[in-house]
Symmetry: C2
Subunit: 337 residues, 2 copies
């Protein structure tokens, strides 16, 4: 900036004024300065300004895995919201490790991001002393965090979602339903399991709930399905607890295609192409990311209200997979021959 000033024979302050579109500069002076800026290709660096005014116009996002569709949609939504406010987004993966999470949070705080959206890796208060001390506004997403002080949180309606799945299957006449959940380490997986069990109870379905928590592979799914379908009271439908379960499950489900109905928690690309087209519980990760970012920006804009928790609704997208299976035509032919 000093270079520009020298070149245009004005003071740095005048250049600053021009760059920031401040009033009080004679048009021709401004023009001259702009000319030089254009010629040299100058851009104001925010580092100085940041230092001076203590704001970086950058927010941070911490997720488990950027490559996971669920998180990538969240990430895209948060970035979009940030762009609306002319903010930039720094993204970091914690890879499910609380340790790594702490370390990336420290990095983010050191960079003095103005705010944070965090999908907490563990439930232990990520409310790291570092973050607390920095007084950086934080919005938690997808999972709550235990904390003495209330914190802004955006959740999905896991209980309602799983309930809609069970009710859908029951409406189709299913009475014996299995639940394939993700690892019990994951809060949402536990929530859905509990929701599943609670719904069965509320609906007074007979028998003990059939639950197989993950992490799952095609093999573990096959084992569970074999067990569930071979007893005296075989399951006729299963619910997969999230996409990480649905993907390996779909392979195995094929083998039971003629007997088992299913509902998948989380929509997925090609959900309408697989056979049968998958009925899914759709939670809108884009909406979740957007809501979290909006709440964060409300804070950044001065909202001092009490911490809030938002629970976003899920939507059951009905396709074919929830309906009772009929023996496929070729199978019938084979057995008839």
């Amino acid at each position: 900036m000093a270079d520009i000033a020298a070149e245009a024979h004005v003071s740095v302050k005048t250049v600053s004024r021009v760059v920031n579109h401040e009033p009080g500069v004679r048009p021709d002076t401004a023009e001259r300065v702009r000319g030089v800026i254009e010629r040299v290709g100058f851009r104001r660096g925010d580092s100085g300004a940041t230092l001076r005014q203590g704001r970086t116009f950058t927010i941070g996002l911490v997720v488990e895995d950027l490559a996971d569709p669920f998180y990538s949609h969240i990430s895209a939504a948060v970035e979009r919201e940030a762009r609306i406010h002319r903010y930039l987004l720094v993204t970091a993966s914690a890879e499910g490790s609380p340790t790594r999470e702490r370390s990336v949070l420290k990095g983010l705080v050191a960079r003095r991001v103005d705010g944070l959206v965090v999908v907490p890796a563990g439930e232990t208060p990520v409310a790291d002393p570092t973050v607390i001390a920095s007084r950086t506004p934080v919005v938690y997403l997808d999972r709550p965090v235990r904390s003495e002080t209330a914190v802004d949180t955006v959740l999905s309606d896991n209980l309602g979602g799983i309930r809609s799945a069970v009710e859908h299957l029951v409406a189709h006449g299913h009475r014996r339903i299995g639940f394939l959940g993700d690892s019990p380490d994951v809060w949402t997986a536990r929530q859905r399991r509990e929701g599943f069990v609670a719904t069965l109870r509320d609906l007074r379905l007979p028998g003990t709930p059939l639950v197989a928590m993950g992490p799952h592979t095609p093999e573990t799914v096959r084992t569970a399905l074999t067990r569930w379908t071979s007893g005296a009271d075989p399951v006729t439908a299963v619910i997969t607890g999230n996409t990480r379960v649905t993907i390996p499950a779909l392979t195995s489900l094929h083998a039971w295609a003629t007997q088992l109905s299913f509902v998948a928690y989380d929509d997925f690309e090609l959900s309408d192409v697989v056979e049968p087209a998958a009925t899914v519980v759709h939670q809108d990760p884009a909406a979740m990311g957007q809501k979290a970012a909006q709440q964060l920006f409300a804070r950044l804009l001065g909202d001092e209200g009490p911490a809030q928790t938002f629970v976003l609704p899920t939507r059951l997208i009905v396709r074919a997979s929830g309906a009772p299976r009929r023996p496929a035509r070729d199978v019938r032919n084979v057995s008839a021959s």
Copy 2:
């Protein structure tokens, strides 16, 4: 930091030394300083350091759409590489618009990112004067950019990939093959189209090449397939040019399932679950992102060598969809009855 210094009865410089683990501090002094730091919960802010040493330890990534699996895998890989070097990653979507791309690039440059990985929206030299002037190292990814000066570029072997797809189909006896490409606005789509045509020519396959460029919807795919399968010399196989084409195409391909083989460019989740399991040309977005980031860090670490272009190989993952279709059993039964 000054507070710490006062509290510990040392100079700021000494505190700085302790914080940065610089040598030349007496152990007991260091210990005392650390104690105070611990007590007041101090964290060095990078803004001052950035200002002083002109480095942000942050790199920027510009892609089209963070939610697109291709880009989200790239993004995850770049972020991972950044983390290895203890850098942070700022991601921004250009949404395919050169205008927006310029604007996000300006934002990134203003933040003084130390380097950039850019998936260019257009082919017009994104080599924006702003970026040039900032002398920020840039690595282009997935698509080249026309520029007077050579620039580091990481590409995928589009020609080789499409060739492997065609050859695979030809090896399975197909002679009449259609190509469903993405919008011709996209460089990679054009590359693959050209590669397709060139391969047909090299293999001396008869007839004019059948090409339908996008953007595609299930309808446009259906129209093309209807046309191609209804003539005197019907196609027996199609190639989809990328995932944005494969997804809508899969819906329509179902209707032709008994006649058409296919190979999809780009692997996709569930590629082995769809029926028939999809043979795909796999370009490894994670490897691409990693390579680009590695090249960028090489530059950041002082590599002054001439600009390089890397062309990463693709891999044909053979599943079932490339083999000639036989009438499915149930269809045969029906026609026999």
